[in-house]
């Protein structure tokens, strides 16, 4: 499931962008240090294969619905983690640009959620140790399913964490996890099964294709530590950005405090809104109407401000309608003019 721009704050989106960029840089360095002529052309082809494979829907038994493969684990098995991560990153970029999947700010998040977990965690830490020599089909099936489910669940957790940190959605983290993780475990089950079937087919028909990545991925170093360091770095960066953001823009914080007190008063008094609004009115009335700067600071959270008195609320609606009309009008004017002078 793609993370969406609309649910992201700039701090979380930016932090994940930096982390994703660092990981891609690391992946390309790793690839360059293990030269193999056959891997480079396969990256682009298999990235495109993900698109092609997603055009083929299969029916999911017992649900009456149909789905398609995600392809993260499959690419990792075929290409090895680094090449697979780069291939997936490019797939996600094209999905963001052409198919409105996620968005540009969320691209970093999506590379982490859908790329890092299958390529750098599920594949090397779960699939590789469990897969054995690949001679037993049932073992392959079990391994693929476990790795795929784990990767999906981690991706789902990451979506929850990013959404929660951004604070645009109101969904409490606990409920969101309960919503996301079971769905993704089910998706992982199907994905793992299909991945195992594809790998099984290839190993019967053309086993030499599978040797590609096997030769290069002897267990080396401790991949887990580096990945953990990278993720920790992303978390710290996000935290740092978030806190600096919060101190630069006190209105967000102020607002949430206001909201809390507002809720308190609702519990207490009969006409809660009026009480809150009265408090606001007395606050805002200190600011003279013509003082642009202060006025603006107060109206940062326009809704609350406009709620402060019915007159302003009308002004807000009127102004919004006018702005929309003006924007549309300018667009229409430009279009008509361009038609006249092509």
């Amino acid at each position: 499931m793609h993370m969406a721009d609309a649910l992201l704050s700039p701090a979380v989106g930016g932090g994940m962008w930096v982390a994703a960029a660092a990981l891609s840089a690391r992946a390309s360095v790793k690839l360059r240090s293990q030269p193999s002529e056959s891997l480079a052309p396969m990256m682009a082809v298999l990235g495109a294969f993900v698109f092609a494979a997603q055009m083929i829907n299969f029916s999911i038994p017992g649900t009456g619905s149909s789905g398609h493969i995600g392809g993260g684990l499959l690419l990792a098995i075929l290409l090895g983690p680094h090449a697979a991560f780069l291939a997936l990153a490019s797939v996600l970029t094209i999905q963001a640009l052409f198919f409105a999947d996620g968005g540009l700010l969320a691209l970093g998040c999506n590379m982490i959620n859908l790329g890092v977990f299958p390529c750098y965690i599920a594949y090397p830490l779960i699939y590789r140790p469990l897969a054995g020599d690949g001679s037993s089909p049932s073992r392959r099936l079990a391994t693929c399913i476990i790795a795929s489910m784990a990767g999906m669940a981690m991706g789902a957790f990451a979506v929850v964490a990013e959404t929660g940190l951004s604070g645009i959605s109101e969904l409490p983290v606990g409920a969101f996890i309960l919503l996301m993780v079971p769905i993704h475990l089910a998706i992982g089950l199907v994905e793992g099964g299909v991945t195992a079937a594809v790998i099984g087919f290839v190993s019967r028909a053309q086993p030499e294709w599978l040797v590609y990545n096997q030769a290069k991925t002897q267990p080396r170093g401790r991949p887990f530590r580096r990945i953990a360091a990278c993720l920790l770095g992303a978390a710290l960066l996000t935290g740092g950005l978030l806190s600096s953001f919060a101190s630069e823009n006190p209105d967000g914080l102020e607002w949430s405090i206001e909201k809390m007190t507002g809720k308190k008063e609702i519990d207490g008094i009969g006409h809660p809104i009026h009480a809150t609004l009265a408090g606001w009115q007395s606050k805002t009335s200190f600011m003279p109407d013509y003082d642009f700067r202060k006025d603006d600071a107060a109206s940062k959270d326009d809704v609350r401000e406009s709620a402060a008195n019915p007159g302003t609320s009308l002004a807000g609606v009127l102004g919004t309608a006018l702005t929309l009309l003006l924007a549309g009008g300018i667009g229409l004017f430009l279009r008509l003019r361009s038609r006249k002078h092509p």
Binding site: A4, D5, L8, P10, P41, M43, A44, V45, L46, A48, F49, F51, M55, I56, F58, S59, P61, S66, L86, A89, T93, L97, F99, D101, L105, S166, I168, S169, L171, V190, G193, V194, A197, V198, F201, I266, I273, D296, K300, D302, V303, E305, S306, A307, L314, A315, G316, V317, L318, G319, T320, L322, T323, L324, A327, I330, G331, F333, R335, S338
Partner: protein, 263 residues
């Protein structure tokens, strides 16, 4: 992959927006994405001035509105699903006008939809009025890693080839199964495996052919654009508008002004 074809057709057209340096367009879109995300979660009216961006680009780039809406539609369900929780959870009334109370949840719901519409339509217009290859060469000029850009360019070329391949497989299955659109799960593995084998051997052949023509792992990219004065103007103008819209609640100010005049 008809979507991608349509993008290419639009990108091949000529318009004032097509003529702008892709780097300027890309930077404006990135700035807009960051600024849209930075609005507080109950912002609705304050975001509306940013609609000037897609409205003007639609017109300047001569892109049909239906095209953009069509591209937005498939991604909408997920955003709706996420946004619908806000009104269910946050029921504290924020606005009251004429006996009608709107809860904070509905306002943040509207805010999420606005964010989606704004951000996505701008990104779609960027690709539709620039073209993927030009965008990639702009990325290179902005010092994006070369390996990644080459990967993007190759992937983009392969998508068209492989989509045809997948379409043939799908058609073959539909013909033999009495028109089923979805493949039975037990068949899916070998069908995708078959597709994968074809794709890989095809990739291998193409790569051999490319090597035969002197491919060294790097695609030469033509930079068919130069930075003009109008590009600076374009970038600065939009940047000022975007930042102004974020800093000042324009609809609110406009509404007050009109009310004052009317009163």
């Amino acid at each position: 992959m008809r979507t991608v074809d349509e993008f290419d057709l639009l990108a091949a057209a000529d318009s004032p927006l097509h003529a702008i340096d892709p780097r300027a367009k890309l930077l404006v879109v990135l700035l807009a994405a960051a600024v849209i995300a930075s609005y507080p979660r109950h912002a609705v009216a304050a975001m509306v001035p940013l609609f000037l961006l897609p409205a003007a680009w639609l017109a300047l780039g001569r892109v049909p509105l239906g095209f953009v809406l069509h591209r937005l539609l498939p991604a909408l369900p997920f955003v709706l699903l996420m946004a619908i929780f806000n009104p269910l959870i946050d029921r504290v009334p924020l606005i009251e006008a004429g006996g009608l109370a709107l809860s904070g949840g509905w306002i943040s719901f509207a805010s999420i939809l606005l964010r989606f519409l704004l951000g996505m339509s701008i990104a779609i217009l960027l690709v539709a009025c620039t073209g993927f290859n030009t965008l990639c060469s702009a990325l290179l000029r902005l010092h994006a890693p070369r390996v990644f850009v080459v990967q993007l360019l190759l992937l983009y070329r392969y998508i068209f080839l492989l989509a045809d391949e997948a379409r043939r497989v799908r058609l073959a299955y539909a013909l033999r199964s009495g028109g089923d659109r979805a493949v039975a799960l037990p068949v899916a593995g070998s069908m995708l495996g078959q597709l994968l084998l074809r794709v890989m051997s095809r990739g291998q052949r193409i790569h051999q052919a490319m090597l035969g023509r002197g491919f060294t792992g790097d695609l030469p990219v033509r930079h068919a654009f130069r930075w003009h004065g109008r590009d600076t103007l374009f970038l600065l103008g939009w940047a000022v508008w975007i930042i102004l819209a974020r800093a000042v609640n324009i609809p609110d100010q406009l509404g007050r002004f009109v009310m004052k005049v009317l009163a």
